[in-house]
């Protein structure tokens, strides 16, 4: 999205993640207009430093479902970010929070659907 000219700000608790952002780029992340903040999504200071107050969209995609659900609700309710998306691995909870008005993406659900259709596309035994 950065390459499309959007302003992108990443928040991560691991300072080393910055290096990952630059893999495959010919310039530095900041040189291309990106932002990077070290901190966790539950820290108000870190969210503010990352610029949540001016954000048009907020994506919560840490490796913890619970963290994502909490931060996404904070972004939605406290900072009134217009578009908030939470990554939730647990399909049951992704479903329930979607009904509660949270935009959720469930990679598990997507993978199940893809695997299922791949199986259906295959031919059963004995059919040439």
């Amino acid at each position: 999205m950065l390459s499309e000219g959007h302003e992108v700000s990443c928040l991560d608790e691991d300072p080393e993640s910055h290096a990952r952002l630059e893999v495959g780029l010919d310039k530095g992340w900041e040189d291309l207009g990106g932002r990077f903040t070290v901190g966790t999504g539950l820290e108000t200071d870190a969210l503010l430093a990352a610029g949540i107050e001016g954000a048009d969209a907020f994506i919560a995609a840490t490796n913890g479902d619970n963290t994502n659900i909490v931060i996404a609700q904070i972004a939605q309710r406290r900072y009134e970010v217009p578009t908030v998306i939470a990554r939730i691995l647990d399909p049951l909870r992704a479903e329930w929070y979607r009904h509660q008005g949270l935009h959720t993406i469930c990679p598990t659900r997507v993978a199940i659907d893809m695997l299922e259709s791949a199986v259906r596309e295959g031919a059963p035994r004995g059919v040439a």
């Binding site: 539950l42 108000t44 619970n66 963290t67 909490v70 609700q73 904070i74 309710r77 647990d90 909870r93």
Partner: protein, 227 residues
Amino acid sequence: MYIIVVGAGKVGWNLARELLDKSHEVTVIESNRRRYLTVEQELEHNVTYGDASELWVLERAGIQRADMVIAVTGDDEDNMLICQVAREKYEVERIIARINNPRNRPHFDLLGIKPSVSATDLILRLLEHEVPEYGLVHLLNLQEEQLEIIEMLLGKDSRVTGRRVGDLSMPEGSLLISVLREGKGFVPNADTVLEVGDEVLAVLDPGREDDLKELFGPAAGGGNGTG
């Protein structure tokens, strides 16, 4: 009452013991297998293994018929979401959440998770009570009702000792409700004369502490004079 306790750490385990002693029906949910096996030796069928942030684990524990859910894990996000799901999805009437990091309190409030209990805050409150330099102790904070009750110890240099209660110009929105003198409490009237060593209790609108501190505190320049 049927109570679900999430987290079988020191807090959860002891809480479950107390509740069982008081003849409540209790299920403790613990997600660490080793901890579960330890606790299970004592609590037996009253503890179950699983991650309570997953809905089916809560359902297996019978959350649909629970009267109360208490989330006391060491993880604030877990505690918040377990309580949120309990109340909003399963319509559990009463929830209690533990706050591990007091800086997360605003998040609990934002999600409407009430009441929430923070050990750090409790210790701070005790500290206020035990360390007299603080001058003023919060005894009760009724957020919903917009009232506070505080306690003040009248020192030698307090500007109200020797004066009649009726002569004090109490700030608007505050009321003296009792005086503790030599271990006994009574309700003061206008003729009560305040003495050194009295502990007075006042009820007030939130935000009036400073006015009261000003009125009951040491006279200007009195400092820590020993007299």
